[in-house]
């Protein structure tokens, strides 16, 4: 009895320790054979019970795993669902394993980069199957819609820019829109804020934060004074700059949209203080697992800078601003996220400017001052259901902006208010396909006081849109959308179709095309007088080719745009004779208007970025060419508009030197001359064909930046220095004439060579820049 007991015990132990190791299965069978002579029924029963599952009767399953072309896939995982039976494929893609399962089972094959495979098999079926796996969609084998899109994102890995690029580009001054001005397709205009894209005016581009149009994205400006964007680059996780042919989700921009997506989670950085030549700011960030808060406050005054850098204009009121912002983000559940952002700012400036209507005996200069107050708030809620198959994006936004302007002794006032609500629902379908639909509503109130009259108007704007993304295989993608818009002020409705197609031509290259119709409500300064105007319209056609390989990017894009229904003024003297063009940048149009304006823009742009060839050096080169003419506004003949430069080149270099933890940047930009109005060419008797035929000289600019990271008593310190227009070039942006047409004067930057230094200190031990390497 004891003997049997010992045998059972030892067997049991043996089984416990060696149960599944397949190489030892043979030994089980040998032991089993050795023991059969023990003619004890119970024992045999027990041994059978114990050993049958281990599989001396096991069936062999074998086969091969390959890709679609029949190339073997070594290292694939092949197994039967719900069992331990399985193996990895060998170097020839072959597999072989034993199973105790009988009848049928589900054979599963998984391999990284390939779609999982499942098949019901009949065990004992001798034909060894060859399993062909399909590659999963990835950046190398799947096409993406790319026409007209320039993206900076960390989430999408194959983008041409990274969010960090926005703060490390010399000449960009950590201003998002200034960096966008260095991208292909943009015409640089030195004396006005805004993005001038492919022949479009600054007003034809919209800045959109989390889907909401920003009414006043730039600090308020006076004519001929450039201003910065209002938003800090670190607020955003992704930036997508569309130079045309953009999605049906957006509207009200004839040429371009700049889409900014705010970050979902703040960092627990505590207090940080920044001081530079012109401003001081504090920010405080606190994050918990579910929520985060960021608060900032700043004050800036250009006086110290002006003491060091000679100014080309006579400032009567040194520019400055003060403001604050507050952001709150809350995870409302597993998938829900609520973000609320609010900001408030005041800004002011005053200068002596050329009096465009100075008569004989008047002073040629007139004092102009402006005080601006701006409030902007936006909140968004995103959520997903059904394992992320349904996505919701909803938002509410309110903005209020008011300018108090004094021209000489006259007071002007201007204010705008925009409320908007937006909802988008997206359904994700298998194989990257998706469909989305959404709606938005805006309520605008604008008022403008001019010559003692206050003009006020209200517009209720509504839009609905739908868009589908369809993949026909991995190589061909089609995005088609349609947008319908209604404006209560115009009393009109429009329907704008959009279509993009992309085809993958190789593992690293693709071609893409986009077509779309785009509508925009005319500049409100016309609508005060004539609310019967129609939407202005632009049609875009874009062709794009790009190669991204080994941290080198080449992209070329050609475009044709057609402008129609542009607002046109009847330019007449009081006696009815044709009047001369009025180049006065402060003019307020009061004449008759209609929508007969037309125009076109065509050209191409090239982008090359290389982060590989020279070790440690990252450089990019862009070239943009545009040929465009319009007859619109108060133009007296079809001409290339004054904001157009036919050729734009930018060369950007960056180098990070790890030893001294310092990043260096050098940027060169070239902008060819722009048309300006010469009244002597359109005097009575001269042909209109000479209208806007004069060109300013080209604009050159070399700028430099350096930023250094260090630590003082465990607090992170970032020091930076920038220099703009290093060569002190006397750039001219435009020429204007005195009212008598006798004297020409230049409009240039408010200063030539200038420099800037500053630093940020993060007063928190938690604050760290994690550049961990392993």
């Amino acid at each position: 009895m004891n003997r049997i007991y010992t045998v059972i015990r030892s067997l049991q132990r043996h089984v416990e320790t060696q149960h599944l190791a397949s190489q030892q299965r043979q030994q089980f069978c040998i032991v089993n054979t050795l023991l059969t002579p023990v003619r004890r029924k119970v024992l045999r029963l027990y041994i059978m019970l114990l050993l049958v599952p281990a599989g001396c009767w096991a069936q062999q399953i074998q086969g091969r795993v390959t890709d679609q072309k029949g190339q073997p896939l070594p290292g694939a995982n092949v197994f039967l669902r719900g069992t331990y039976d399985g193996a990895n494929t060998d170097s020839t893609g072959a597999f072989r394993f034993a199973t105790s399962r009988k009848d049928t089972a589900t054979l599963l094959v998984s391999f990284i980069g390939y779609e999982p495979f499942a098949q019901k098999i009949t065990i004992g079926n001798t034909a060894p199957p060859t399993i062909r796996l399909t590659e999963t969609a990835n950046e190398l084998n799947t096409v993406v819609i790319s026409a007209g899109v320039f993206e900076a994102s960390d989430e999408k890995r194959m983008t041409m820019l990274k969010p960090m690029d926005i703060v490390t580009t010399a000449g960009g001054g950590a201003d998002i829109t200034a960096v966008m001005n260095l991208l292909p397709g943009v015409q640089r205009v030195g004396e006005q804020p805004g993005l001038f894209v492919r022949g479009g005016a600054g007003t034809e581009a919209k800045v959109i934060i989390d889907g909401m149009i920003v009414q006043n994205p730039f600090f308020s400006s006076l004519p001929d004074v450039q201003t910065r964007g209002r938003f800090q680059p670190f607020m955003f996780k992704g930036t997508a700059f569309s130079t045309g042919g953009y999605s049906a989700q957006y509207g009200q921009a004839l040429s371009s949209v700049l889409l900014l997506n705010t970050i979902d989670k703040g960092q627990n950085n505590g207090l940080s203080i920044g001081i530079n030549l012109v401003s001081a700011n504090v920010s405080y960030d606190q994050a918990t697992e579910r929520s985060s808060v960021s608060a900032t406050g700043y004050y800036s005054n250009l006086k110290p800078l002006f003491a060091l850098v000679p100014q080309n204009v006579s400032w009567s009121h040194v520019p400055g601003n003060a403001g604050s912002s507050l952001t709150y983000r809350l995870k409302t559940g597993k998938t829900g996220l609520l973000k609320v952002y609010g900001m408030y700012s005041d800004s002011w400036l005053g200068l002596a400017t050329r009096n465009p209507i100075a008569a004989d005996g008047d002073s040629p200069f007139v004092n102009l001052r402006q005080y601006n107050r701006n409030v902007f708030s936006t909140s968004s809620y995103t959520d997903s259901w059904n394992e992320g198959k349904w996505l919701l994006n909803a938002g509410l936004s309110y903005s209020y902006d008011t300018d108090a302007t004094t021209y000489d002794t006259q007071d002007f006032g201007r204010s705008s208010q925009r409320m908007q609500a937006r909802t988008v629902i997206t359904r994700l379908l298998p194989r990257n396909n998706s469909v989305l639909f959404g709606a938005e509503a805006h309520r605008l109130t604008l008022s403008n006081a001019f010559n003692g009259t206050t003009y006020t108007l209200h517009d209720t704007y509504g839009a609905v849109f739908a868009e589908t993304q369809t993949y026909l295989g991995r190589k061909l993608a089609i995005q088609s959308g349609v947008r319908g818009e209604y404006s209560s002020l115009l009393g009109r409705f429009n329907v704008a179709p959009r279509l993009s197609v992309a085809y993958k031509t190789g593992p690293y290259s693709q071609v893409s095309a986009a077509y779309g119709q785009f509508y925009q409500t005319p500049d409100y300064q016309y609508l005060y007088r004539n609310p019967n105007l129609n939407f202005e319209r632009a049609d875009h056609l874009i062709l794009n080719y790009q190669v991204i390989k080994n941290k080198r990017t080449f992209r070329i894009e050609a475009f044709h745009k057609n402008y129609a229904q542009l607002v046109s003024e009847f330019v007449r003297n009081p006696d009815g004779t044709p009047a001369n063009f009025d180049a006065n940048p402060y003019r307020f149009p009061i004449g008759q208007t209609n929508n007969i304006g037309t125009g076109y823009a065509q050209g191409f742009d090239v982008f090359w970025r290389d982060q590989t060839t020279v070790k440690g050096l990252d450089y990019w080169i862009t070239y943009s060419y545009v040929d465009t003419k319009r007859l619109f506004q108060n133009y007296i003949a079809t001409a290339t508009p004054t904001f157009i430069s036919n050729h734009n080149v930018s060369v950007i270099m960056k180098r990070y030197i790890e030893k001294i933890t310092t990043n260096f940047g050098l940027t060169y930009t070239f902008t060819s001359g722009r048309p300006y109005y010469n009244p002597n060419r359109t005097r009575p008797g001269l042909a209109d064909s000479q209208f806007l035929t004069d060109r300013t000289p080209a604009v050159h600019n070399v700028s430099f930046s350096a930023s250094h990271v260090t630590r003082i008593k465990k607090n992170l310190l970032i020091l930076y220095a920038t220099a703009d227009n290093l060569l002190n070039t006397r750039n001219v942006f435009a020429y204007r004439y005195t009212p008598d047409g006798k004297e020409r004067y230049a409009v240039g930057p408010t200063s030539y060579r200038s420099f800037f230094v500053g630093g940020i200190i993060m007063l928190s031990k938690k604050a760290k820049v994690n550049v961990s390497e392993l």
């Binding site: 027990y46 290292g75 990895n88 990284i112 890995r157 994690n770 961990s772």
Partner: protein, 216 residues
């Protein structure tokens, strides 16, 4: 005979499917963990995948166990460090994320918080300049969570210490900040007992290796 019957009954009950599965589980896990331990930082990424496959098979047969998913995820993190280019590294880390998510659906514990942090660290290493902003906070979050859930677990201290060790002093890293954490990790390893012989034990040799860089 009576004894035999008792033993037999005991044996038969013990040999019920539940017992068999659990023994099979024990064995398969023990074997796969042994295979995993034979790997080191010089092993090819394909070897990590081959071993991860074993855990994947176990996970497939054991829907209620977080450990095989944890180990599969861990192996893919190693793959994420040793992959040949950014795209491959990210593919491995996508897998690691998948197993972490599966494991977290079964259980939430300090070791999974460690894995979460480890994945974030590996993601960051792929492209530190442009990823620290996103993955830095995720890494710290995982480390802090693990420390809070089980103060005796040495691995969050190891991860934090190793990350700081390779961060330049200007960015708040270096031996000054890393070594105290690594010493804490070493102290915790001295007394750390895994819940079972299948639970994670890794990290002791890594701590010892890193501590040699610390001033005595």
């Amino acid at each position: 005979m009576k004894t035999l019957i008792i033993i037999l009954i005991a044996a038969l009950t013990a040999n019920s499917p539940v017992w068999a599965q659990s023994a099979q589980y024990q064995q398969a896990m023990t074997d796969a963990i042994t295979a995993m331990r034979s790997l080191n930082e010089k092993s090819a990424a394909t070897e990590f995948v081959a071993t991860a496959n074993r855990f994947e098979r176990i996970a497939g047969a054991e829907p209620g166990q977080w450990l095989p998913r944890y180990y599969a995820g861990l192996l893919y993190v190693y793959g994420g460090f040793s992959g040949k280019d950014a795209a491959e590294k990210d593919r491995y880390l996508d897998q690691a994320d998948k197993y972490l998510k599966e494991a977290e659906a079964i259980d939430k514990n300090d070791e999974l918080a460690v894995l979460n942090a480890y994945i974030a660290q590996a993601r960051m290493v792929v492209d530190p300049m442009s990823r620290w902003q996103e993955y830095g906070p995720k890494f710290s979050e995982g480390v802090q969570k693990a420390k809070a859930m089980n103060p005796a677990n040495p691995r969050p201290y190891l991860l934090e210490g190793s990350s700081l060790m390779y961060t330049p002093a200007q960015f708040g890293g270096g031996t000054d900040t890393a070594c105290p954490l690594l010493k804490q990790a070493a102290e915790k390893f001295a007394t750390f007992k895994p819940a079972t012989n299948l639970h994670p034990t890794w990290g002791k040799s890594e701590v010892e290796g890193l501590l040699t860089k610390c001033p005595k």
